[in-house]
Assembly symmetry: C2
Homo-oligomer: 336 residues x 2
């Protein structure tokens, strides 16, 4: 098992990618190949306790910035993102992990790997923390425009992930909408509701935004525009709340002492809701495995992402998605 890791990714780059990936290789049965600026990576591997001979490096001297647009991306033929994904395409790596520019990874992966047979649109999925564990939300931004059948495929892919990787038996699937009753929502969700009702999946109906973090479903399906807004709004609310808390509380001595006493606990809560701590988002439905983490990731997130990539391969998620999609026949269609 070989996982290619984008050494240059993330706001902190090598300082988090190398220790995270080295640790993942130590703790799990897997090999890591680093992709990035070779002369920068070598000393870091040794510094973080990795045996250089155990960690091959594929030189990719160009790096894609967090703010780089698609034009820059196309121009950079030797970026760590492009070369990492090519390794997967060419069978030289089983999966690719990057904490870099999400839009760049999604675009490159789509172009270089292409979708799995039977998949209309690969989706970006994210495990979000809830009061009861984790829910998989997809799509969180790979596809701004979706059709009913795309969402039905997202549901199948999400179900397979939760079943295989997270070990949830018969995962429940909900549809993100603006009212719980059937018939609530926009044209897309209304049609998708009907479609999912006859899909054979464990479809539990619509879910409202307020229940996103309530843990009511194993999988929540959404078009990529709405999913991305939901995620970014969550991020914004948390940041605003912590900002207000700091401003409000430093006005008063007792509150300051209170904050001091509570600090460790607040931090723990923040960690639970801050998705940069998690392993990253999974691109589902591609002809090759890619995981892309938050730019703010720390080394622990990198370690988790590499471990997640391994689970993905071990559990043969790709094969299962293909099988399940082949089995799920659109209503009216005749099974071959």
């Amino acid at each position: 098992m070989k996982i290619a890791v984008d050494a240059m990714g993330g706001d902190l780059g090598l300082r988090i990618t190398i220790p995270g990936a080295v640790q993942a290789a130590k703790e799990n049965d897997l090999d890591v190949v680093f992709v990035g600026a070779k002369e920068q990576i070598s000393p870091e591997v040794a510094r973080w306790g990795g045996k250089p001979s155990d960690f091959p490096i594929i030189d990719a001297p160009e790096s894609v910035g967090m703010g780089d647009g698609m034009f820059a991306l196309r121009r950079k033929k030797r970026s760590s993102i492009r070369i990492g994904i090519q390794l997967v395409r060419d069978g030289q790596a089983d999966a690719f992990v990057s904490m870099g520019n999400t839009a760049a990874v999604v675009a490159m992966a789509r172009q270089i790997l292409g979708p799995l047979p039977g998949v209309n649109k690969p989706a970006l999925s994210l495990l979000i923390p809830t009061l009861k564990g984790h829910t998989l939300l997809l799509d969180v931004g790979a596809n701004a425009n979706c059709q009913t059948e795309d969402l039905a495929q997202f549901a199948v892919m999400g179900k397979v992930f939760m079943e295989q990787v997270m070990g949830r038996p018969n995962p429940s699937v909900a549809l993100m909408s603006i009212g719980e009753e059937e018939g609530k929502g926009n044209e897309l969700t209304r049609q998708t509701f009907d479609r999912l009702s006859v899909s054979g999946l464990n479809f539990i109906g619509n879910i409202e935004g307020k229940d996103l973090y309530a843990g009511k479903a194993d999988v929540i399906v959404s078009d990529g525009f709405t999913g991305n807004v939901a995620l970014k709004v969550s991020e914004g609310v948390i940041e605003t709340l912590f900002h207000m808390a700091r401003r409000e509380i430093t006005k008063n001595l007792f509150a300051k002492i209170g904050l001091l006493l509570m600090k460790g606990h607040l931090k723990r809560i923040y960690k639970r809701v801050d998705y940069s701590e998690y392993g990253g988002a999974q691109l589902l439905g591609l002809n090759g495995m890619c995981i892309v983490g938050h730019g703010r990731s720390n080394s622990n997130a990198v370690k988790n992402a590499v471990r997640l990539a391994r689970e993905f391969v071990v559990k043969r998620v790709q094969d299962r998605i293909r099988e399940e999609l082949a089995r799920t026949v659109a209503p009216g269609e005749v099974k071959a």
Copy 2:
């Protein structure tokens, strides 16, 4: 100036609507007409210090529950919501305020009042608290399916509200999308971006979900599906966070003391972000003024909603919207 108030609305009904509206009438130059179950309202008015002769009551014995569907709504010909809106239509009240079932108020208002001339779709708008004051978000749920021209009209209506009622000169307008650059988003937002760019409004471009509470724009325009999801997700995040905080903190004595010391401050923060404290959402673009508050509203929110309704009428928001819409000509159209 006469404001009709739905006495039966809100989770707490008469206990919040009567004191809130009585107080609003005392503090402002306006008359309140209560709509609801007459025999229940009379004693409450006196109890909260209102002179019964100052507060006429229009009997509306049927009430619409928070969970009532459209079928129940149509059947209830004498509900406080229906009769209150009819008062506005018939010129017997200048505006209607309800803390009742939002979907019911929106549906009834649309049916009974109809849109203002030139308005495709009336929108539900909400003032949301930000780090720098307030931003008006619309549509937050009246229209699940929207076209470019609808969003352009929302922008005009929102601009008029912020200018007239909130006193913001030349309000800035942003478009809710999933990337700040032009060209990011789904088909609807891409087209709307182009449309707003030539609208003559102070259009500042796309805004991402994470900046919803950052106070970057005076008005944020969105289709009603996305706007509603954004709002409900915010609600969910805050509830989840406070839930986690309580659970986390009661595990440890020091943290408990800390929480005790911070309690007042946390409550104040919660109030700032909890939109049930605010005056309620405004239906913009209807041929008559309606404000609908959160079901969890307290008497203070009712008071604010009534005062807001008064501002609306005093500032002639309806006329201004008509004027601005007539002035804003779609590209390619020739001004009459």
